[in-house]
């Protein structure tokens, strides 16, 4: 699983057509390719692919194999390097990539390769502050890029990785409880058991009818994802209804209580992202919708915070230790414990 950048593929083909010079193929291989977990991620064109999964603070190490296309011929180069990049790309401003992580390791000084060669690299305890995200108007990605610089054109190879940001159980997680309505027509009290939910959590709630003077046909709860890009005057909001879940069919009367139990694991969602590198936000809302006999819609939107729980938990641990393992904080000191647990878990 590796990708060429569009530009380098074009130049590569041109060169092999017009020149009799040497060319090479680069292959990036991670040290822990056998053991590291992969995560699925949907790319911009909608395709789902698997990528190596990393967390904040983890070391990224491996080697690059440079294979000469024409054995026997030398490959002259202006230097060989490998970069680890984390960047944000706004679709309406493709030319500008906003790099928030940029690390480079020089692997070889300018010279020549007489045969295929392998170079080791290690980016130690790399900070990966944000989660990988591919959205409607923006994407955030992390990748390794190995480059063999040459006078006329470089040979390079990119390898995307996926980063997940983990959180601990929030200390404060109050329920959401509110009375809303239209005066003299409809009064309801809605309650959701938490304001912060992890991605495999369950929304438990209820809708209590205080006054019903309209003819309600049914009620549903929708999950809406709102992606906001841009600042100041040019702000774009993209709303996407991730889920529609009917919770009541039929006309309620005063005093009735309708339960809500919505399992989040079945839906493709990301953690809530607020003002990432001042470039974009991804927020989630619960939209309670009541529809009357004449198809009129009455709704109330409420933001919820979604977070990602670390799932490196071993069943043999006591409940205390389980909670301890779940309290993961994205810093280098606890990173080694997580790496160890991950290896033991998949081993």
């Amino acid at each position: 699983m590796s990708t060429h950048t569009f530009l380098s593929v074009t130049i590569h083909h041109n060169m092999s057509f017009f020149s009799f010079g040497q060319s090479a193929e680069i292959d990036v291989v991670l040290t822990d390719a056998e053991t590291r977990k992969k995560a699925e991620h949907k790319t911009e064109d909608g395709k789902k692919d698997k990528y190596f999964l990393f967390y904040d603070g983890e070391t990224v190490s491996g080697k690059i194999n440079i294979t000469l296309k024409n054995p026997g011929k030398r490959l002259e180069h202006q230097g060989i390097k490998i970069e680890f990049v984390g960047q944000i790309e706004l679709y309406y401003d493709r030319g500008n990539h906003h790099e928030f992580v940029s690390l480079v390791k020089d692997l070889a000084r300018p010279g020549e390769l007489t045969q295929s060669q392998t170079f080791d690299f290690e980016f130690t305890h790399v900070e990966k502050p944000y989660e990988t995200y591919t959205g409607q108007n923006v994407k955030l990605r992390y990748f390794l890029r190995a480059t063999v610089s040459r006078r006329l054109n470089d040979i390079s190879k990119e390898m995307d990785i996926v980063v997940h940001t983990l959180s601990t159980y929030p200390e404060l997680n109050s329920s959401i409880k509110m009375e809303v309505g239209i005066e003299d027509c409809l009064h309801i009290e809605f309650e959701y058991n938490k304001s912060k939910y992890h991605l495999k959590d369950v929304i438990v709630g209820k809708i209590y009818f205080l006054l019903v003077r309209i003819k309600i046909k049914h009620m549903e709860i929708d999950i809406i994802k709102r992606e906001t890009t841009g600042t100041g005057p040019s702000v774009y909001h993209e709303n996407d209804t991730i889920a529609k879940y009917e919770i009541m069919d039929g006309a309620p009367v005063r005093g009735e209580s309708i339960p809500i139990r919505l399992f989040l694991a079945g839906y493709e969602m990301t953690p809530t992202m607020r003002d990432i590198n001042k470039k974009f936000s991804v927020r989630y809302y619960l939209n309670l919708v009541l529809i009357d006999e004449e198809e009129r819609r009455y709704f109330k939107q409420q933001e919820i915070t979604l977070w990602r729980k670390g799932d490196v938990v071993r069943k043999s641990m006591s409940s205390q230790a389980t909670i301890g393992a779940q309290r993961f904080e994205g810093s280098a000191s606890s990173e080694s414990a997580l790496e160890k647990a991950a290896r033991e878990d998949s081993g």
Partner: protein, 168 residues
């Protein structure tokens, strides 16, 4: 042995429902019938009126059972008033049938039985949709249309407040 990582999905506590609420009449009763078309007048000055009967238990309507007679142009008047004064999207009325008003038709034109029935159904659908709209229920013109014997086209448009409502 319960798994500590499984979420608690038990229902939230709720007040038990009062039985008079559970089994009593619903508070949203509203039914409007448009029926009994009668053609009044003679010759070119004929027109059709319909009986409009409203039965309701909504506190915002002064009368819980009212009967009035209205003609098509009265419904048009109501539609125009609501479009001007309220923020709601007013549903369409059944057609004006201008072609039927032209002379030298083979049939009774706008007094054709099938046409009157079609129009009656459309008017009934229209008024039920409107009267059930919470915002339309605040408009003086709707109350006058449904519950005053005749329309005062020189009335002062305004909002109606529920006589039993608490002040915000």
């Amino acid at each position: 042995m319960s798994d500590p990582t499984v979420a608690d999905t038990r229902r939230l506590n709720s007040k038990p429902q009062d039985l008079t609420d559970a089994y009593g009449p619903p508070s949203n009763f509203l039914e409007i019938d448009v029926y009994d078309p009668q053609t009044v007048g003679v010759g070119r000055n004929r027109f059709t009126t319909y009986e409009v009967r409203m039965r309701t238990n909504l506190p915002i309507f002064k009368l819980k059972d009212s009967i009035v007679r209205r003609r098509y142009s009265d419904f048009e008047w109501l539609k125009n008033e609501l479009e001007r004064d309220s923020k709601i999207v007013v549903p369409p009325l059944p057609g004006k049938a201008l072609k039927r008003l032209l002379p030298f038709r083979g049939d009774e034109g706008i007094f054709e039985e099938a046409f009157i029935e079609e129009r009656r159904v459309g008017l009934e659908q229209f008024i039920n949709r409107i009267a059930g709209h919470p915002l339309a229920q605040n408009e003086r013109c709707l109350h006058m249309f449904l519950q005053d014997e005749s329309l005062d086209r020189n009335y002062i448009p305004g909002k109606v407040r529920d006589p039993e409502a608490r002040c915000a």
